[in-house]
Homo-oligomer: 400 residues x 3
């Protein structure tokens, strides 16, 4: 059995916001978003192998204090014919590179709006197969999932199972063997067909079922409210998601982009379409690179050339190492406003500075500027349905 | 320190129910029980030895998401004179073989109605002694317990301590040494005297005390409501429980039966009597047997002759192992209707198929048919106090 | 990675209370405090080292059942220049020896009123430096903290950060090298300047901010209500705390005393001053001593000369060891009544008997007699604002 965990400590400040954004967050255009100090992640878990090529993994999220949650909770097999790795339980859905990437390795403190909005909290109960080719050129994952987030509730209760089939096909188009992967290109396509419960509120007793046709997210920072929110979309019967990913890495430079579209089919109403995209450029001032995992198609752990340290030396001096320094800029776009569903349309830019103390610890800084329009659903009565905002954030993190 | 855990994933469906049963579950005879997908158990714990012959154990139940609970939480001693093993803390009460058996080894997905109804959630704060004879012919456990379930609350607050003394005497009547225990007979008797708080609701402040004279259970499956439920029995001053167990094992065949009766004494009202029983027959199609633990008098871990596996071979073929296959049938009866307490009377049959992949992993299937009458206390106004139901369930599980 | 934990099981009884005390506890002068059985602590945690001289620690408190909390949760560095050890996260504030002492080593079951009232639950989010001199004569810790208790909530949300700077300077005035520390004298001074949010309730949305200018505690036992409670002090803008500690240890004898004062500055009202003190004398009947940790200035683990044990011997006799026996008496005083803030003034004496079975396990008994006056804020309407009480408690505990 291996034990593991992570600690993320965050501080967020909101130095400037317009009345509209105040309304999205606090319900009052005159009251601004409040600063926050928070344990963002407090994870502890265990994983291991079992006889018969089996494996298990459980990961607890304890940052909420009284509100404990779980994350990965699954059992499965390795090295099966056809399915290769097959996992049953609560696990990540196969779309959105930035969600597939571990929060330990994310370049920005919070994930892009579109990634979070179209795949809130990512993990679902399901069965998923994971595979890759022997030459590591291709990898894929696909499965069937229930759409309810259960990490806070433990289960799902409804005669409408709200199932979803989803998959991702990923290709490492180029891999620089000579530098052991300091250069690579990744392309992937992912999609989902999700059947939602049109009558969840009226037909299930005690509100046990809730339609999962709802897309919402925070402004790439931690806030009380989700500033983008379509609400449960009336009449939604199913939706389809199509997603594209690309990564180009050249030594210390990395360019990443994703685009996703969702089409929601409705009974008794016109279909609606939501979409979003982001792109970011990151650069290691100290020359390291962001490694790539070709078996699963995701970012891997970055290793500073020299760990940060600061110690007294024998001769009364101080010796030090500088760690790794990375800068990055992200542009992000999300449109959850279409037809009668005006749940917000906006974009944001984020500037980031990451100081990697060691492969297991870093200090992150983010500055975000964004604006949102077409947000009728989240603006209080009489308040503007648009606004812009500035956000500052910092995070201390270790994992073990 | 040893770490351990278990993962149980369940799916339940309710393909057919009568209006009465709908009412017990949903409060509306027209709304049927809803299907469910759930993490049934997500356990993680630690145990170990300490100096001075001491030991400790803690086991967390994290399947509820926000609603964390604990299970075994105790300290104690081994190898004491007279007491042998003596444990202080939250631990299983000493009655009901099917509750004493670990959920890892239970032949059916959920325990029989009578076992759950008369010993809801099993564990209580108490002090208990465990012993066995050197020849392993006899074993026993007895102790004093508070009757409140504290695994969700952490403690009990009331001037009425609601104590209970309970014990179990268990005999391994026959043990086939030649086959190392593929044949055995077990008999046990258990009993309890429980003093309940007649005035819990009126005399304790802020409802801090609740009378524990209440017996209830679900229909041997997971549902929202408990379909059998006496409510808190008015005037209940104390109750006595008497329980009998028997197991006969002949190689792959096992026959298990238990019977329990509870007599509730009441102030200002006639006493009431509740009772129940079950019997099941199980058979390993692949020839294994269910082992028996003679030190504690309970089922032990079954080991397939051949683990389930499925791997690609060098010459492009597939090699496989079949695991162990077990079938079983259970009849179960519960009567919690007597006098003015009409909390349900019914029986159920369950057919089970278990596929043991390895000693640590299995896949279970259950089909249940049952009917309930005399259920005035749990039927909504104007709805029938009787009904029948069909339930289907399946579970994936590992433990480590 | 090291794993660790502790289990504390408590029973409390309230054999005699006056109507005033009944009112503080239950809100009704005719209803007395109720007895309780409880898991006082159920801790499980992990700590370890990371590359680059880093470390981490997380400790979970699971005794509450559904109400999980965390305790120590931090990352940091060892052996830094200037700062020595530097920790970021949820950690103990640097004042109050009896709070700095681990609950594993506390001589009494619960901490003195003043220590709890002026530093409720002790841990806060902050950054703290820990140091000591090479000769172990001096040690210190100081840092900056947010004042909100987050172990149940996970974070703090408000534009007013409610910061606090606090430090403690500790001296081991005498250390008997010859006996390896069976004799020692410790003196320390600690202080804090805490900026509180005068307008928390009116200016922060959704009550997200709460003024931390509130001091309250239970009667050195576990009760439902806090019998001393100033409430949130109207107009409080900041407060200062000054604290003194002393310990004199002579072999099995130990004398400990602390005194603390808090001055609360208020806008639009007179300042108020609260203060308290305690002293206790403990004695090991079996001759052991309470060790001292000179690096951090706190009590260390006591080791019985002979562990408690009780085993059958080969020749049918019983062999035993007696463990260590300690008696102690504490006098404690707390005054949270000043000016218009009449939150209680009282003192209490506690008699204690501790039976250490091993260094990792003990059984504690406490008897408390106390009285409280000037408690207008916690007395129900028309009930007396004063009263006295008797309390009995016992605890079984292990740590690992």
């Amino acid at each position: 059995m291996q034990l593991f965990g992570r600690l993320h400590f965050d501080a967020w400040g909101f130095p400037g916001d317009s009345p509209g954004v105040n309304g999205f967050e606090t319900g009052d255009p005159n009251v601004s978003p409040q600063d926050r100090l928070t344990i963002r992640r407090l994870r502890f878990g265990a994983e291991g192998d079992l006889p018969g090529n089996m494996l298990y993994r459980l990961d607890l999220e304890l940052a909420g204090g009284n509100e404990t949650e779980f994350r990965d909770v699954y059992l499965g097999w390795k090295e099966l014919p056809v399915f290769q790795e097959l996992l049953i339980g609560n696990q990540k859905r196969p779309y959105g590179l930035d969600h597939i990437n571990s929060s330990r390795y994310n370049v920005f403190m919070e994930r892009p709006s579109v990634i979070e909005a179209f795949n809130q909290d990512n993990r679902r109960l399901g069965i998923q197969s994971w595979g890759y080719t022997d030459d590591l050129g291709w990898n894929w994952r696909y499965g069937v999932f229930n759409q309810r987030i259960v990490q806070d509730e433990g289960g799902y209760v409804s005669d409408h199972w709200q199932p979803e089939v989803a998959g991702r096909l990923s290709n490492t188009l180029w891999w620089d063997e000579a530098s052991d992967g300091r250069g690579y290109i990744h392309l992937a396509i992912a999609g989902s067909y999700a059947n939602t419960d049109q009558n969840a509120l009226t037909e299930n007793f005690a509100g046990s079922g809730v339609s999962e046709a709802r897309f919402r997210t925070r402004p790439e920072a931690r806030t009380e409210s989700r500033w983008y929110d379509t609400g449960v979309i009336p009449g939604a019967d199913d939706y389809e998601l199509l997603a594209f990913e690309s990564v180009v890495n050249l030594g210390p430079w990395q360019l990443v982009g994703e685009q996703q579209t969702i089409w929601v089919d409705r009974i008794g109403a016109e279909p609606v379409r939501f979409h979003g995209a982001y792109a970011y450029l990151s650069y290691f001032l100290t020359g390291e690179h962001v490694p790539w995992d070709r078996e699963t198609g995701q970012l891997d752990r970055a290793h500073p050339f020299e760990n940060f340290f600061l110690v007294n030396t024998c001769n009364s001096g101080v010796a030090s190492g500088m760690g790794a320094w990375q800068v990055a800029a992200r542009w992000s776009y999300l449109d959850t406003a279409d037809g009668d569903i005006q749940g917000g349309r906006g974009d944001a830019i984020t500037a980031a500075l990451n100081w990697y103390w060691t492969p297991y610890a870093k200090w992150q800084f983010n500055y975000i500027y964004g604006d949102i329009t077409n947000n009728d659903l989240n603006a209080p009565l009489g308040a503007p349905n648009f606004g812009d905002y500035h956000i500052l954030g910092t995070r201390f993190q270790v994992d073990f």
